[in-house]
């Protein structure tokens, strides 16, 4: 049996319309506590910094987000140990440790990471030289947020899905076994 695997959100580009509701919801959910983002747009005082990124090709589109790789190149590339694996095997960026070196961005084969400004208390954090603090921003599967991944919840087209391969593999293997059983007579 394979290792217990981390979960991730996967989009079905056949359903995605590219509305960015996922990006906005992601931002809203992650900034309720520290940046006083409430229900409405008017409560936002900082730049929208999502953790997944709508990507358009000529024919279709979808948000790209972290796969929570089992041997995560971003985690391996991070010299500051600002990327860690939590108890649920999710790959998480500790933005307070990130120095914005961009190694993880280069390492990630999916383009799931962007370097974006960091805000606290409703304002963008500034460094000594008044430049804004920036950190790697990527999907954390809404760890610690009630209701699970916000992107999945808000998608108007149900294009996003939380993938738990552990369960799916099991279901698939049972289905395969059943079909073998069914076909044993023929």
């Amino acid at each position: 049996m394979t290792e217990n695997m981390s979960c991730y959100v996967l989009c079905d580009p056949n359903k995605c319309t590219g509305c960015k509701a996922c990006e906005l919801a992601c931002f809203a959910e992650h900034n309720k506590e520290n940046n006083d983002v409430a229900y409405t747009v008017g409560t936002v005082t900082i730049p929208v910094t999502p953790k997944l990124y709508l990507t358009k090709t000529e024919k279709y589109c979808m948000p790209v987000q972290c796969k929570h790789c089992e041997d995560a190149p971003c985690l391996n590339a991070c010299k500051k140990h600002a990327i860690y694996r939590d108890e649920n095997k999710q790959v998480i960026v500790d933005q307070s440790k990130c120095i914005g070196c961009k190694d993880c961005v280069m390492a990630c084969p999916f383009g799931a990471i962007s370097i974006l400004p960091v805000s606290d208390n409703g304002a963008v954090l500034l460094q000594k030289d008044k430049e804004c603090v920036k950190a790697a921003s990527k999907c954390d599967l809404c760890t610690g947020i009630e209701g699970g991944p916000a992107c999945v919840r808000v998608c108007p087209n149900e294009a996003l899905r939380l993938v738990d391969l552990n369960e799916e593999q099991l279901a698939k293997s049972i289905a395969t076994a059943n079909s073998l059983y069914d076909s044993r007579l023929s």
Binding site: G18, A38, G42, V44, P156
Partner: protein, 464 residues
Amino acid sequence: MMRVVEIDKNICTGCRECAKVCPAYAIEGEQGQPQTINVDKCVMCGQCVQKCKSYVSIVSHGYEAYEKVKKERGIPDSVTEPLFAAHNVTHIEEVKKALADPTKVVMASAAPAVRTGLAEEFGYKLGTLSDGKMAAAFRALGFDYIYDVNFAADLTIMEEGSELIERVTTGKGKLPMFTSCCPAWVTFCERNYPELTDHLSSCKSPQQMQGAVQKTFGAEINGLKKKDIFNVSVMPCTCKEYECSREEMKASGERDIDVVITTRELAWLIKDAGIDFKKLKDEKYDNPLGDFTGAAEIFGVTGGVMEAALRTGYELITKKSIPAVEIPAVRGGEGFRSADIKVGDLTLRVGVVSGLKHVVQVMEDLKAGKMKDYHFIEVMTCPVGCVSGGGQPKLLMDTDKELAYKNRTGITYKMDESLPQRKSHDNPSIKKIYKDYLKAPLGEKSHHLLHTHYVKGRAKTIND
């Protein structure tokens, strides 16, 4: 041409989620390509503005794009919230200019639904009432008179109720009569059912009544010249900006409403002035044009105009007190519902349309002669009435929509319950204005100031 609702081509991702909510099928474009609004179809309801999530992003548009877009749209620097592809054109700078102009007497008046949403923009729970805080905010912003469109809502009931009674009892005028306070609906009707515009009540919307009264009666009682008065209307609606610019809306001789801003823009104005909304103490509206009843407040929700009209209509017809002020039969959500209401010997068959898409079947039935039993039909373009209007605070997550509508509606009815007068004709200031100025509903002055006519087939352009 006047621009009311627009889609910014540079920001639109072409998701066409807006097209799904557009009741007028006005949004055109290929999937995945920037969309355009067909102005010949658009009713300016702003539901696309509410729906759009395609924001100006530092990731896809860069760091400078946000400030650039803000500047292009004439949004104050102080605004920090995300900006989206679909947006309504703001007139906030005109309001700021008027407030800063010492020669102008600036009068504020806000629609009933505004006070159910405004607080959300300051971090309050969905559907927190901010009636008193809003009055205080207007005062802090430097408005000279803090009036209220709710006053005109009561006035509307007087006029529209009387008109209904007249149509029902004398046979003068077409039945069923349709409400005319929703400008998006009126525009839709003029465009698509020109032959049926006679069914519309000739009453102006509360906003326009309020404007006309402020610049005439209001000028008189306050010793002002109407040309010095600058009327600012705050609306949960994007179409109201268009409504106030219609040629017919100059009963006072001037433009009756000078500028309309939305609930969201009022929040910008408050933030721009550095007012700490949370710290504001409740204040009162100015008399007499700021007095209102519970009947006026429920204009903000679907079925509210109907319910308010019935409360007054019942008593005007029967000369008796209505047995139950609340009429749950006309309350509800999106769609079309009808009810038979006993008014003395009369049974009024009424209908309520919530969501403009649902009006099409009604109108087709009307054309087919299937609506003969109906006396009065209320039409609201937005899903659950003005509380869900295109100018209301925009939700970051549409999963909160249901809760927002429920709470805003709930607080509207709660406010109605809490008010001393709940029937428009009980409003003392209404009584006073008829006594001192208008004389009687449907009278000559009313006809001039408070009623309008419709342009059949107002079709081709918004600002013809």
